[in-house]
């Protein structure tokens, strides 16, 4: 996993609540056996009309936001399907941080597996960022070590994050590698379960 430390990037405003992972990446893009190349499908129905032409009014199609690195979104971002293609598509597009008042559990968790930072801020802070993201200067700084977002107007917002997740994200750690260091504990657990619940061991 690529580490996330600090970015200075353009923020794109997407002022909709309950953006689900079907909207982030529709079904037809899930029929891949790869993790890469999913940017094409990101927000596909928002970005393209039925003939496949770009919709000029969608924020990520506007010249000022085509190279956005941060998305500012409404409540409950990433609800619905567990598809990890959603963070993969955001990252492939170049977005490495999403800011909202709340995230759905599975999406939130999937972000940390991939180095995409989900930042939870208070409603008035998100509202202010959303308004500033619509303006001419819409570059924000996100610093994971300091747990801060600096708005274009210089205002600094602090966010909370689980320390274990922060550590892994800062260092780009491989969760499987970490867990395998505890293989002996897993062996012990399995041995005990086999004695206590023998019916679980299929012949």
């Amino acid at each position: 996993m690529k580490p996330f430390t600090r970015i200075d990037a353009k923020a794109a405003p997407l002022a909709l609540s309950n953006i689900d992972t079907d909207q982030i990446i529709p079904k037809q893009f899930l029929k891949t056996v790869e993790r890469e190349g999913l940017a094409r499908g990101l927000f596909y129905d928002f970005r393209f009309d039925e003939a496949g032409n770009e919709k000029a009014d969608f924020v990520l199609n506007q010249p000022a936001y085509k190279d956005a690195g941060v998305l500012v979104a409404g409540d409950n971002f990433g609800c619905g399907s567990s598809r990890e293609h959603a963070p993969w598509a955001l990252l492939d597009f170049g977005i490495t941080c999403v800011i909202s008042t709340s995230f759905a559990d599975i999406f939130y968790n999937n972000c940390f597996q991939n180095g995409l930072l989900p930042v939870v801020l208070k409603a008035d802070e998100v509202e202010s960022l959303m308004a500033q993201a619509r303006g001419g200067n819409h570059v924000v700084s996100v610093d994971l070590e300091a747990q801060t977002v600096t708005a274009p107007d210089g205002e600094v917002y602090r966010f909370e994050i689980d320390p274990a997740r922060k550590h892994k994200m800062l260092n780009g750690l491989d969760a499987i590698g970490e867990t395998l260091q505890r293989a002996a504990d897993i062996d012990v657990y399995e041995g005990r379960r086999a004695l206590d619940n023998p019916w679980l061991e299929r012949a």
Binding site: K31, V33, D45, L200
Partner: protein, 474 residues
């Protein structure tokens, strides 16, 4: 000793280790399918890591399988990308010695139908799958959660998950529901009450006499839709209904092992006095048959109601979302929802494709048929059983004959039009009465308009040609 919830007990029974402030929990059963696993197996291969417990892993092909011609096998699937995904799964399970029910096998079907049907899903277990509706298995008193592909890889490699514990929420449904009201209506009522983010960060335990009175199929419907309320897992404590369902299933314990297992399973209940972080109480008698009117599962209303006015919502955000939803759905504020004329009816999905669901729908269809009514001429209606075994049982009971005589299309099992990854999907503007779980924009096909409802309500809509009150059909 402090009183524990059912969730606390399952959690505590699966603790392996603490590491760097995270908890490593053991996973008893890992269900896999073709769409969310290819990148996980590729990751294992790239790192030279084996699958730790192939015997605790079960694979099916369900998300993008066509619902006809399944006996021809994966190699005959017309969609090139779907075919590649299915063949990739077949190679991965063969390489790793994982049990697999291929397309066309009688035992294959939707992963959340197959696990319980085979007796692989058992009380007190931890279960994961790369699919958000894994919450279904909570009906057995198992902690069952949807995970992403990176975590699928983690479970394949370690048979564990790194997780922080969720909060406890209890939803108690008391009383007796009116005729025509069932598990789907209970679930929609809960989502309508707490919203799609109401359960975020929680595991929801369902309790109360109306939940106790549900069959296992009904409990699965209820737990299935828990994710639509934002909670990753739903739970119902196991009881005699659970054990009766499980007895004799292929992977259920037998003989003395059965007795030992049942004794163990009976320890999985919430202790008297255990504290929940939040509690919701609903009276089943107050629930009418429900439908959704918008593009979020929380947009629920009674079938007797009128489409809400966006101006009636509390916040600017909600007002904007409601206006957008009405526009997308082609509905007008104030219109009776029964005026919504449907083009398609879909009976299926991991929410409502089990034998009891098909029986409930068939009962409505049969009564109408005997009164000389068929599927309305302008409606295309399909039934997609949840598994080959459900399909076979329905055919034994003559349900397929009832559906077909009335004009329904009787298909082969799979996820089908719930998410439209296979050829079954809505055309732009088409309106569908659907027993599935998500009415998101574009979910069943770009521009498609989905109304979520129960199997009996879907059958009533098929006959009436518009959304209809099932109580007029029973």
């Amino acid at each position: 000793m402090a009183a524990k919830t059912l969730y606390d007990k399952i959690w505590d029974a699966h603790l392996v280790a603490e590491q760097d402030g995270e908890t490593i929990i053991y996973i008893d059963l890992h269900l896999i399918h073709e769409v969310t696993t290819p990148q996980a197996f590729a990751g294992l291969r790239a790192n030279g890591r084996p699958v730790r417990r192939p015997d605790r892993t079960l694979a099916v092909a369900d998300h993008n399988v066509p619902t006809e011609g399944q006996a021809l096998g994966a190699a005959a699937v017309a969609d090139e990308e779907a075919r590649l995904q299915l063949l990739t799964l077949e190679r991965n399970v063969a390489d790793n010695g994982i049990e697999y029910f291929p397309m066309g096998d009688l035992r294959n079907g939707i992963v959340h139908v197959v696990g319980p049907e085979q007796g692989r899903t058992q009380p007190g277990m931890t279960i994961v799958c790369g699919d958000s509706h894994t919450s279904t298995h909570g009906a057995f008193g198992a902690l069952a959660q949807g995970i992403g592909t990176s975590e699928v890889e983690h479970v394949l490699a370690t048979q564990t998950l790194r997780q922080a514990k969720s909060k406890n929420m209890r939803v108690t449904i008391n009383g007796t529901p009116a005729p025509g009201v069932g598990a789907k209506d209970f679930a929609l009522a809960v989502i309508g009450a707490i919203g799609t983010a109401g359960g975020t960060g929680h595991v929801i335990e369902y309790a109360g006499e109306a939940v106790r009175a549900l069959s296992m199929e009904g409990r699965m419907t209820l737990c299935n839709l828990t994710i639509e309320a934002g909670a990753r897992a739903g739970l119902v404590a196991p009881d005699e209904t659970t054990f009766d369902y499980m007895r004799g299933r292929p992977a259920a314990p037998k003989g003395a092992a059965w007795d030992m297992a049942v004794a163990h399973w009976k320890s999985f209940f919430t202790d008297e006095g255990a504290v929940f972080n939040s509690e919701i109480v609903i009276d089943a008698a107050t629930i009418a048959p429900l439908v959704t009117w918008g593009t979020s599962p929380e947009d629920v209303m009674p079938i007797t109601g009128r489409v809400p006015d966006p101006a009636s919502f509390a916040t600017p955000d909600k007002r904007a979302s409601a206006a957008r939803a009405l526009d997308y759905m082609g509905l007008v504020a104030g219109q009776p929802i029964t005026e919504a004329r449907v083009d398609r009816v879909f009976i299926g999905s991991c929410t409502n494709s089990r034998i009891e669901d098909l029986r409930a729908a068939a009962a409505v269809v049969q009564k109408a048929f005997l009164e000389g009514r068929l599927v309305a001429p302008h409606v295309t209606a399909m039934v997609v059983p949840g598994s080959g075994l459900v399909k076979a049982q329905a055919e034994d009971e003559g349900l397929d004959a009832i559906f077909k005589a009335a004009g329904f299309d009787w298909r082969e099992p799979g996820c089908s039009m719930c998410l439209g990854m296979n050829p079954d999907r809505l055309a732009p503007g088409e309106r569908c009465a659907s027993t599935s779980n998500r009415n998101f924009e574009g979910r069943q096909g770009r521009g498609g308009r989905t109304h979520l409802l129960s199997p009996a309500m879907a059958a009533a809509a098929a006959i009436a040609g518009h959304l209809a009150d099932v109580r007029d059909f029973i």
